[in-house]
Symmetry: C2
Subunit: 345 residues, 2 copies
DNA sequence: TAAATTTCTTAAATCGATTTAGATAACGCT
DNA sequence: AGCGTTATCTAAATCGATTTAAGAAATTTA
């Protein structure tokens, strides 16, 4: 039952035709090259019967096309990225692509190494990247001209690449406005390292703008950066500082992992939301709807993001194949405010 | 700055040696073949300076080794699998492997198609699989003899493959015992489709055994199978039936997604846990510790599972390379009971 | 100095597909 | 019959690496 693995040459010999002919049939070029219907049938039948699968390494080598796309993310452990990855896989699969997943752990050096390997060694046809880079130089240096690259979630100025993400400024602006409308006068902000990535900067700016709109003075010490590698400890200290000493009456956190640890800290310190602090987070999450009180959040349209990222990448790959000009799109989807109980009294 | 992409031949010409020599250096065989130290230095320098990356498709073709492993899971959306995937990626990366991720959505046909493509076309060096198959035939038919395969989470009898998972019978047995000890006399069980996969069967058996131990008669109608594709609806109906009509005083659910929807349903129906029903779930989860009341769960050692799955696969790949016999390990890690407030009064 | 050895280097075959250019056979037409 | 056409098919080059077998240069030995 377990049949031998044939290559195209053996298969051709078995059928009694040349491998050229088998290749024609395999690639739907039989008609184009005038292969008789009878022969086509014969070849098709043999392919199916023997379960022949052409070697993708051989095709890759010859065609310089891998049907592989690289998905390089900062942290697949974060459900936000895991969800997007799933969406991307789903769309890629439909279009005949496989995805290679790689995790940078927010390390720029690792990011560059991985990209180098994926692009130049593995030969992936394109890359979807959530970059942790501060500057575009090292990325630019390794990218072949007109290489299909999608920046997901995080922009990187100075690089010509399509970007798929939400309007972080607006999401943050709206949520902060909402907290203010709920009565908060002194709103803490918990950001996450690295603080230089675009969504974080945009969100901080959205927060500032909302304060300004409301005539509230921006106080830098109310903004605390949580280190990606020691979230638990930093959150505890930050909440301690902001609530214990700065006496905030509102807290907005820029990431769902931070939010989780805030909730833990609130329980530990016996802080009651929304009574003591109005609270909200970025990135909605199953926990938020079930928690008591339910947690307000800025929701990113994850399915849409994944879909768009892949579709745009597929478009770029297609254009590259046909050697047209590559136009880079900047997609800024609208985030959605999910107002629940943690942010209003 | 953006330098041209060289292949080994161009690189060799540039340096003024043969590509054979470059290849020797590249593969650390320079000493073995007696390349002079001076030449080695020269070649090394050029490789580094020009950032040369050998084409992996060419190497794959020649060496029949891809340094790729396939990770085929039923549902990457499930945090349990996402976590394991992250662990596997981490260990694989260290060992120089890339992972291709594929999602079967619990569809056996899709699973076979994907495996076929990964093994025979992509040429992955090995596969880690959470199978949705009922019978091993179709899998056996496509697997080359002695192919490195790890079954993760789910066993499949009749197939010679290493299996990495936990002792599901024991986990379920212990948790059911705990519910009984807490005073539950009529315990509902929510399983998930497909019901024939080994962990589910083992868990159901553990549940039965615990009832038997306690002298409680097993009632088949207290066991309800939730369909993977319509969890929300099924959970609602099942809870309605079991609590509303069968008057259960305990509920054990076999999957964290089901648990989530149970909590929603409880709120909707105003069922108080642990007061009205003692409740617990399989697969621990951040939600469970933060929810009020906190939810008891059978925790699987996710990091350990991912690590073992990869290490065992790497071992098999290594043995295959050196053409030794492949011994198949059956790893059954101990699950851990996390007792919180949902399961005791 | 010539022969034998050792040291270093390279030409060419190979992996399995695709594709170009060309071969062969059958056919129609004058 | 002879010649151009058309319809089918195939030989051989190619992609970029690895590796075997063998060649050239340097060194030692006789």
């Amino acid at each position: 039952m377990t049949h031998k693995k044939y290559n195209i040459e053996e298969l051709a010999k078995k059928i009694g035709v040349s491998k050229t002919l088998v290749s024609f049939v395999l690639n739907n070029k039989a008609d184009k090259y005038g292969v008789s219907k009878a022969t086509q049938k014969k070849v098709q039948a043999a392919i199916k019967k023997l379960g022949f699968q052409p070697s993708s390494s051989a095709r890759m080598l010859r065609l310089k096309k891998s049907n592989l796309i690289g998905l390089v993310v900062a942290d697949i452990g974060n459900p936000f990225f895991a969800q997007i990855a799933m969406q991307i896989e789903q769309h890629a699969d439909k279009a005949g692509y496989r995805i290679i997943i790689a995790n940078t752990h927010e390390d720029p050096k690792k990011e560059i190494d991985l990209l180098n390997a994926l692009i130049h060694s593995q030969g992936v046809d394109g890359v979807i990247l959530t970059t942790s880079l501060k500057a575009p130089n090292s990325l630019k240096a390794l990218m072949p001209p007109r290489y299909p690259l999608i920046l997901l979630d995080r922009k990187l100025s100075g690089i010509a690449a399509s970007t798929v993400g939400i309007d972080n400024f607006e999401g943050s602006h709206e949520m902060t406005k909402h907290l203010i409308a709920g009565g908060a006068k002194k709103i803490g902000l918990l950001t996450i390292s690295p603080g230089y990535i675009s969504p974080i900067k945009d969100r901080v700016n959205g927060y500032k703008k909302a304060l300004e709109d409301a005539g509230i003075k921006f106080e830098p010490e109310l903004v605390q950066e949580i280190s990606f590698s020691q979230i638990e400890k930093d959150v505890f200290e930050a909440v301690n500082l902001l609530y214990g000493h700065k006496e905030i009456d509102g807290l907005f956190v820029l990431n769902n992992q931070i939010a989780r640890h805030c909730l833990q800290t609130f329980e530990k310190m016996d802080i009651k939301i929304p009574h003591d602090i109005l609270f909200s987070s970025f990135d909605d999450n199953e926990l938020f709807s079930l928690y008591n009180p339910s947690i307000s959040a800025v929701m990113q349209p994850v399915e849409k993001l994944g879909e768009l990222a892949f579709e745009e990448l597929a478009r770029l790959i297609g254009e590259k194949d046909s050697d047209k000009k590559i136009a880079h799109e900047q997609v800024g989807l609208k985030p959605e405010l999910i107002i629940r109980n943690s942010s209003k009294r």
